[in-house]
């Protein structure tokens, strides 16, 4: 099973997984390995304190890209289940931003798939972070990821 969720409210990734596992994995005896990543908002970035953040996204395309990323990984690594939860909107320091969890028969596949989903998500899923500094000023976080299209001729 694949689940993708964008949410505008804070969540506890571990409680989320406990609930998901209780629903989906009751008595799951074939997935020997689960690999999980949780990305959390820090209160500093590029040398500055950050008091809060706004996470913009492209409704429709964001879900579509996440669906594709996860479906590709499920196919490539023959995953049993995969879950991605990503925050949007106003976020405060210490709040989780992203949860990626995958279940597989073997640990190598689980680790590889979880890391791959995170890397591709960071480089292609349409999200943009806008930070608020202690003096009230705001700035967009620079993307430092490779472009997805060829340079213009």
């Amino acid at each position: 099973m694949i689940q993708i969720e964008l949410r505008a409210t804070p969540f506890d990734p571990w409680q989320y997984l406990a609930d998901w596992q209780a629903q989906q994995h009751q008595g799951n005896t074939h997935s020997g390995a689960a690999a999980v990543f949780v990305g959390t908002m820090r209160d500093f970035n590029e040398g500055d304190d950050v008091t809060r953040m706004y996470l913009e996204h492209y409704p429709g395309m964001t879900e579509r890209q996440l669906d594709k990323i996860v479906a590709d990984a499920v196919r490539t690594w023959k995953l049993d289940d995969a879950l991605v939860v990503h925050r949007v909107g106003e976020i405060e320091p210490a709040q989780p931003i992203v949860l990626v969890a995958v279940w597989s028969a073997h640990r190598g596949e689980a680790f590889d798939a979880c890391r791959h989903i995170m890397e591709v998500l960071k480089h292609t899923a349409p999200f943009w972070k806008k930070e608020t500094l202690p003096d009230g000023s705001v700035r967009w976080v620079d993307g430092n990821t490779p472009l997805q299209r060829q340079p213009l001729a």
Binding site: G39, L55, A125, P126, W140, R149
Partner: protein
Amino acid sequence: MSVKVLFFASLRERLGHGQVTLDIAEPLSVQEVWQRSSGEETLPANVLVSVNQDYADAATLVQLDDEVAFFPPVTGG
């Protein structure tokens, strides 16, 4: 017939608008959609583009009723 053009994040703020509807009579390249919707000549190298919510490039042909979006490098995760 028209094309819906969206702009996101710092690009939306720089251009001062988040959505433009272009009336077009025939398919246009992404590059032409950029010129007509942004008023700027060349699509900057650090602007990403999607057509119907899939990544595209400046040469991609935009059909009537397509949805085109321009946005800066992504910073999620």
